[in-house]
Amino acid sequence: MWIYEKKLQYPVNIKTPNPKLAMAIMSQIGGPDGELGASQRYLNQRYTMPDPRIIGMLTDIGSEELGHIEMVSAIVYQLTRNLTPVQIKEAGFDSYYVDHTTGIYPSSAAGVPFSAKYFQSKGDAITDLFEDMAAEQKARTTYDNLIRLTDDPDVLDPLRFLREREIVHFQRFGESLENLRGILNSANYYADNPEFDR
């Protein structure tokens, strides 16, 4: 189970609204490489993972990703506060506003709703850990792309924090893959599914 803590992992305090930028950043909530998909990828892969160290890693990184959904949601929320209809139209935010007003709805930058199709839980430890490492790199690239789109220091600060977390998680999943290889039967040279075939 989970217990909610009434704080962000890292502060978000944005003074200037920017609904166009908010629509782009929304992708890190509900887009193909966003935090919602990340959390569900790791938390769902845990159950059949054959090593307690790696179950711990998936649990703890998956839980941290839930906190990242909240951070990115805080960024989007603060970028879309106190908007006038004119600002909404000028920023091209009207396509989002008409369906969600300024509510947070997990979708990609292009408005595609979140989908479980964005992640895999393959039931094969090697396969899943490679997916996880790739996912961290894809999310890092997305943060790089977002960072190029703004010069607002209030937005850059939490985006840079989140980008750095992708790099740390990539490193930790890399260690998990090494730990997994360490427990494989040496006869399992090609690393056939160690969750299923044993």
Binding site: I3, R172, E175
Partner: protein, 84 residues
Amino acid sequence: MSRSELLRSIQIADFALVEANLFLDSHPDDANALQYYGKYKAMLDSLTEEYVDKYGPLTARQYKGWDHWKWIDNPYPWFPEANR
């Protein structure tokens, strides 16, 4: 410390624990990491106790017999004023 200063200190100590936690998941017998975790856990515990006494709970279970449900009082974390 003001509410926001104390909360920032809690976020810093908490972040040290998140980092050490992930590292320990893949290195469960690393003596330095265990010592580091213990140090920041003690720091976080004492900061949290100060925060709860002065400003109210960060989790509902930190209730301390108050005659008001303080859980709903402080600004929710996504409001800018919660992060100043």
